[in-house]
Amino acid sequence: MSYVIKGQDGPWELVIGLEVHAQVISRSKLFSGSATEFGAEPNSQVSFVDAAFPGMLPVINQECVAQAVRTGLGLDAQINLVSRFDRKNYFYADLPAGYQISQYAHPVVGGGHVEIELSDGSTRRIGVTRLHLEQDAGKSLHDQHPTKSYIDLNRSGIALMEIVSEPDLRTPEEAGAYLRKLRTILRYLGTCDGNMEEGSMRADVNVSVRRHGEPFRTRCEVKNVNSVRFVMQAIEAEAARQVEVWESGGTVEQETRLFDPARGETRSMRSKEDAHDYRYFPDPDLLPLVLDEAWVAGLRAELPELPDAKRARFVAKHGLSAYDAAVLVADQETAAFYETVAAGRDAKLAANWMMGDFFAALNRTGRSIGDSPVSAAALGQLLDLLADRTINGRIAKEVFEAMVETGEAPASIVENRGLRQVTDTGAIDRAVDSVLAANPDKLAEYRGGKDKLFGFFVGQVMKAMAGKGNPALVNDALRQRLSA
């Protein structure tokens, strides 16, 4: 807990909790059959239920419930076999019914947790208070017409999971790590695509500051922050603002604020006095949500291996460092790619290649693992050529770059370009002889005790062999001749 804000009168620590709204991956909405595709024509995915026409009634979508339960299981959380939907009442133009159906008093998922990894290699367990299902609202567009607002109800009624953390986070870095880890888990589970730029994952950030050892002070909620970076920036900005308020003798008022990334500051959206009275009450159109224990057990049995388990396995089975393992499991596709490369091969070498040349190539080409220029199978073949000594490590890098450029298979690159490693000791001996003959002065120095020149001779021999000499054999041959 090294992160503090150095105030005028001593350090302040941060207390942070996150409410993450994660859009559920499902073909249809939480209470209607409308489609949920992103980017469709405005108001093209709206049923009479979504538009709250008279007499329309909600019917729960079982797939959305399954997704929430899967997520709960993935957060190692309590699954509540009986939960309930409430109405949260408020008026807004993009809230057609005048209420949002949400789970206020009895959420479907109770307490769980997320393990986060920090840059210093340490890990922390962050509590998850609850996860509940709720409907999204529509979208108001205020900039399409000089005097009118436009309403797009495509999003209206789409299922969201609100995942509420305990106020366990203490630094912007931890908040970022929590969000990233949560996103990884959701993506592993296939319950949310985690695309913050499309709005399918958004965070409300609760921030307060306090002196070490104090109870919590008043918090402010920064609404609807839509990237990990902005969440971290918003926390810093809001915490700094609160420290300034306290230190100047003021009082932080509980309120809802917005983060302005351009100015790097938060500003008040509505104060406690203006806070809505949401008049929550159980939605009489819906029966309590009662889950069958066996159904939940079935979902549990079908869960994929989650990042923490996979990381532990990579460390235990493949002998990877905790860091390398964490990087490789951060994305499910990357982990699967790695496992394909590593299967039946030197797993650490496979990891080194992934972490080094392979990721560098992805970065350079701006490609993702999904459309990588080099397939897992091809990278594996390259490692095989290394393992059976067809090529040496230096040539392997050259072959890899050619693979990135041409998409050709490594074996054909090696053949076509004549990159096969030379293991013919006669050829090596001839190269050694010619290098020694060409550098009599260096040879004399070496013999005079300048041992470091051994490397020079290796380099010259490899150069004479166009890099293809087997490094071990070249070393052996040189050592033999120099000691003769």
């Binding site: 009479f48 538009a51 709250a52 026409f53 008279p54 007499g55 329309m56 009634l57 909600p58 019917v59 729960i60 109405r87 009442n89 008026f91 807004y92 133009a93 057609p96 019914a97 005048g98 209420y99 607002s149 309403i151 009275d277 008049r279 929550y280 009450f281 009489p284 159109d285 819906l286 029966l287």
Partner: protein, 492 residues
């Protein structure tokens, strides 16, 4: 006259080809044309549609088909959304609203061949016991009093009941939230059934209080109601609160009799304030059932006295939320404003009548922070006790018999200055609504002024069959043959 036939008689006549559906429909449209200017029972008359439906029904009848309601003209309470036919809920805010969908209940009726004459008037958003709150003007009861005062038909299904009583329709759909089927049926001298909550789908019915609203039929005989309910009822996957149970043969249940049944008399429904004629009618009803072979048992429903107070917390709470969607943004009436808040305020101030506004305010109040526990939460607890009262009673008896309403129809304008006096109309009907149990009102006699009075039969959840059996016995014993002064074919 064709308009004097009961629904079952008309059905049989069509099957015998004694007359055509077109003739039957035309006779009713004539009655509507003649009487509606006076009674205001219909907000919208869909004559052309009705004629087309009748022609289609005749074609089917000619082809030997026989849907349960084939060719039978009905009135539809204007709370049921009807595809392509304006649906107002009796409110200015929905005055221009034409639904692009058909409610499940009316779709079931159409499936079974019914002809829809039009949309029946009602209290605005079904909030009322007099039909005085309709934005389309009050409905007049076809029954008249010696003093000549225009009487209310009861509410909220006042238009439905007036239309059926005046022989403008063979039957009508209605809805009951706290008594809105049974009380107007009693006031208009016809039969009405509120089935068990969940028996009929609420999909496509404009919501008042979702946990209480239930559709049911009104008609001139108990047997007619049984036929209609058989078509209206059934599981609907689009309504999460609809019951996935088979629909029994209600018409057959009407022939069961009451021999061996135990009929409960809830002692809490007695009061010194009860008019003597109602007390007398009640005793008469019990005697009829005893004569039919039933055993009469005194029972207690100890939380009855809290029924009305609880209802007037729960129903407005749900209504305040259900009516939030009428905001002028997507459908219905809009009154423009400088900004969104002003648009809301103007639209809702001009769109809603006084009673609806009152209930929205009460509902908003009882749900608000700081009052929720004292009102809404406590009301839900009392509601559970009321349900337990019924459950306990039904451990001893098969059905209950009570008066339907504490009085006969009153004059238009009465009780208008005192909402609580108005609410007291529902004192006998509300507890069953709160418990979700089925109820029926059957006309059983007249008060000294010659106005009809109903008796109420309440049954176990999803045991409408016993309710029909008891109701049919009362109907036969009462032999209620009185006619309202204003009716099709009567001298003007």
């Amino acid at each position: 006259m064709l308009t004097d036939l009961s629904l079952v008689e008309a059905r049989d006549g069509l099957r015998r080809r004694a007359f055509s559906a077109a003739e039957l429909t035309e006779a009713h449209l004539d009655a509507v044309a003649a009487l509606n200017p006076r009674l205001n029972a219909f907000i919208t008359v869909s004559a052309d549609r009705a004629r087309a439906q009748a022609v289609a029904a005749d074609a089917k009848l000619a082809a030997g088909e026989s849907g349960p309601l084939l060719g039978l003209p009905l009135a539809i309470k204007d709370l049921f959304c009807t595809e392509g036919v304006r649906t107002t809920a009796g409110s200015r805010i929905l005055e221009p609203f034409v639904p692009p969908y058909e409610s499940t209940v009316t779709a079931n009726l159409l499936r079974d061949g019914a002809v829809f004459l039009g949309k029946a008037n009602l209290d605005e958003f079904a909030m009322g016991s007099s039909n005085m709150t309709s934005a389309f003007g009050p409905v007049q009861n076809p029954w008249t009093r010696a003093d000549g005062a225009a009487l209310v038909p009861g509410g909220s299904s006042g238009g439905s009941c007036a239309a059926v009583a005046a022989r403008m329709a063979l039957g009508a759909t209605a809805t009951d939230t706290g008594g809105s089927i049974r009380q107007p049926a009693s006031f208009c001298g016809i039969a009405g059934v509120k089935p068990t909550y969940g028996r009929c789908s609420r999909w496509g019915i404009v919501a008042f209080a979702s946990s209480l609203d239930q559709a049911g039929p009104v008609a001139r005989t108990v047997g007619d109601c049984a036929v209609m309910l058989g078509s209206m009822a059934g599981f609907d996957p689009r309504d999460s609160t609809s019951a996935d149970r088979p629909v029994p043969d209600f018409a057959a249940a009407c022939r069961r009799g009451v021999r061996g049944l135990r009929i409960g008399v809830p002692r809490e429904y007695r009061s010194d304030a009860m008019p003597a004629e109602i007390e007398a009618l009640w005793q008469q009803g019990l005697a009829w059932l005893r004569d039919g072979g039933a055993e009469i048992v005194d029972v207690s429903l100890p939380h009855t006295k809290y029924g009305l107070a609880t209802y007037y917390i729960v129903a407005p709470a749900e209504a305040s939320s259900n009516l939030a969607r009428y905001d002028g943004v997507r459908f219905g009436r809009r009154v423009e404003g400088e900004d969104l808040t002003e648009l809301y305020e103007r639209t809702r101030a001009e769109g809603f009548g006084a009673e609806v506004r009152r209930r929205i305010m009460i509902g908003t109040y009882v749900l608000s922070a700081g009052y929720y526990d004292a009102y809404y939460l406590r009301a839900q607890k009392v509601r559970a006790l009321i349900l337990r009262d019924f459950t306990d009673a039904y451990a001893q008896v098969d059905a209950l018999l009570t008066p339907t309403a504490p009085s006969a129809a009153f004059a238009q304008g009465d009780k208008m200055d005192d909402p609580v006096a108005m609410y007291l109309n529902d004192v006998f009907t509300v507890p069953a609504s709160m418990a979700g149990v089925p109820g029926l009102s059957v006309p059983a006699g007249l008060d000294p002024q010659g106005l009809p009075l109903g008796l109420q039969v309440l049954g176990r959840p999803f045991d409408e069959e016993t309710v029909f059996a008891v109701g049919a016995v009362l109907e036969r014993a009462a032999g209620f043959r009185h006619l309202p002064a204003i009716r099709a074919g009567a001298p003007a």
